[in-house]
């Protein structure tokens, strides 16, 4: 069972990202689970969500205390996110404009904000970084690109889905490992 935790700020689309990843697992022929932690929801407050993928039935219903992967929606949250727990050799995926290598952890970086801005993906809270991050996380988890695209189109059929394919695909191609 693969376990992943998303750490973000309220309004960044962490819940939707968790849902997309769980759906992608299903499209990829596995079981998927998205379990966001719902607190007293407010914009800008730290939020987290658990995601699990497994070839067999998922029995876990807790938050991911020691995940294999941590997705950091904002560079500012990096230390707080790691402080919540990750396995010793766990992988970190960070949304940042430049490389932020984390000691002892394979670290990947993607500039999700720049990709969203360039694609004109905005809502009232700012650029929609969860779409590029979905592409980036799929790449890191080796989920095929066509599965990633199919998941987006199933969630938002038609033009709305198509608008997301470009930025998700760009992040899929440009997310890079910044240490080994």
């Amino acid at each position: 069972m693969l376990e992943l935790r998303i750490n973000g700020f309220g309004g960044q689309g962490s819940v939707t990202l968790a849902h997309l990843l769980a759906q992608a697992a299903l499209e990829n022929g596995e079981q998927g689970q998205a379990l966001p932690f719902f607190g007293v929801e407010r914009r800008g407050a730290p939020v987290r969500a658990a995601v699990r993928m497994s070839p067999t039935t998922i029995h876990a219903h807790s938050q991911c205390e020691l995940p294999d992967y941590v997705v950091v929606m904002s560079e500012k949250l990096t230390q707080a996110a790691l402080g919540e727990g990750i396995i010793e050799t766990g992988t970190v995926i960070i949304n940042a404009p430049q490389a932020v290598p984390i000691e002892n952890h394979p670290t990947w970086q993607v500039d999700a904000e720049a990709i969203a801005r360039q694609a004109g993906l905005f809502n009232a809270d700012g650029p929609l970084i969860n779409i590029p991050l979905f592409g980036a996380v799929c790449r890191v988890l080796n989920i095929p690109r066509n599965i990633m695209e199919q998941t987006i189109m199933n969630k938002w059929p038609g033009k709305n889905g198509e608008r997301n394919l470009g930025p998700a695909g760009e992040a899929y191609n440009t997310v890079k490992q910044v240490n080994a």
């Binding site: 968790a18 769980a22 998927g32 379990l35 007293v40 029995h59 876990a60 219903h61 807790s62 938050q63």
Partner: protein, 376 residues
């Protein structure tokens, strides 16, 4: 022949889908976190003509259950849902549903009780309704929520007793997982339309639930007590028939995991019991012969099935997500001890209360708790 379809659904959506499959006639609803999304799904299904039902928005839970009672007495198949203090507010009318022998099915999305306020899960709300004369299931997965609601209608309408289907707030209600939706025809065959023996009919007016003298009241209450116990074979039959119709199985009155040769048995309900399967695996890797017994049916408490399933000389670790005020532990432990007394003197029962107000119950934490309990 149509085949089953798999969608991604939250526990709340799974509940709403089951209600749609059950072709429910009337849905009175009042919102309360974390149940609210069930009522949102129901309202939307009725509005979009996906479900041919009457949705009744009411001003509180007491009225929601009153409307459910009235609709059920008029012969309708009824559904409502609530949580926590909403369930407590219904308390008086819950007795009207069971005493009136009305087969209402309700979801309670478990949430801790005020005061102080909490939004997150424990099982004090449903356990506080133990003596209302309702049958209670407790579910440990999204799929089981769907399956159990359909089985609950089957049982409730055979024996005219209302049924509460409980599952954890957030850990199930807001957890997105794959959900298998069987073909509607298979469910229609499993759950035929509700045909009550008697109903209120405006064309042929009659009175319902008059004042009774003790000579009538006492036997009526005895009958309710007897029939609740008599529901156990119906619960088993419904689980079996549902399996034949859909291929899906969550256990009948109980669910077990690696129990046959277990020396240490975890005993718990709801989503923590699903996570406990992973704790059992951890303990087995540490060389401890661990297993799990999960009562899926909490009321009536499946005494005979538990007595038959527990291995010889097992240490049973009861993990309660509730308090049995006035006693040092939780309610499940008390129930278990009462059925084992004089029947299984080889069994040791140990008990801890945990997970109150939504404290996260991870596989590692519960495995460590069970290890610590072994040394007590």
């Amino acid at each position: 022949m149509k085949t089953a379809q798999v969608i991604m659904a939250t526990g709340a959506n799974a509940a709403a889908q089951a209600v749609k499959y059950a072709r429910v006639d009337v849905v009175p609803g009042y919102p309360i976190t974390p149940q609210t999304s069930i009522m949102e799904y129901m309202a939307s299904m009725v509005e979009n003509d996906e479900l041919n039902a009457r949705f009744i928005p009411v001003e509180g839970e007491h009225s929601a259950m009153a409307a459910a009672v009235a609709a059920s007495a008029a012969g309708a198949r009824v559904f409502t849902a609530t949580s926590s203090n909403g369930l407590l507010y219904m308390h008086e009318v819950l007795h009207m549903a069971s005493g009136g022998r009305l087969p209402v099915v309700m979801c309670n999305v478990n949430r801790g009780i005020f005061a102080p306020w909490t939004l997150w899960s424990d099982h004090q709300d449903s356990m506080a309704q133990r003596d209302t004369g309702w049958i209670q299931y407790h579910c440990s997965s999204n799929q089981e929520v769907f399956n159990t609601i359909l089985q609950a209608y089957r049982v409730a309408e055979q024996i005219n007793i209302p049924i509460m289907v409980n599952f954890d707030g957030f850990a199930i209600s807001h957890c997105l997982m794959p959900l298998t939706l069987p073909p509607q025809e298979d469910i229609d065959q499993f759950l035929p339309p509700h045909k009550p023996e008697w109903r209120l009919d405006p064309a042929n007016p009659s009175s319902f639930s008059n004042v009774t003298m003790a000579a009538e009241y006492a036997p009526f209450r005895q009958m309710l007590s007897d029939d609740i116990i008599a529901s156990i074979p119906l619960v088993k039959q419904a689980a079996q028939e549902y399996k034949e119709a859909t291929g899906m199985w969550d256990g009948d009155t109980i669910d077990t995991y690696r129990l046959e040769d277990a020396e240490v048995v975890a005993f718990a309900i709801n989503s923590m019991a699903a996570e406990l399967k992973l704790s059992v695996d951890i303990l087995r890797e540490q060389g401890i012969k661990a297993g799990l017994l999960r009562p899926r049916l909490y009321l009536p408490f499946p005494a005979e099935d538990i007595i038959a399933a527990l291995p010889q000389n097992a240490q049973v670790m009861v993990l309660d997500r509730n308090y049995n005020f006035g006693h040092p532990g939780g309610i499940l432990a008390s129930e278990l001890k009462s059925v084992l007394f004089g029947r299984r003197n080889d069994i040791t029962v140990k008990n801890r209360v945990m997970g109150i107000g939504g404290i996260d119950l991870t596989r590692r934490f519960m495995a460590a708790e069970i290890r610590a309990m072994m040394d007590e």
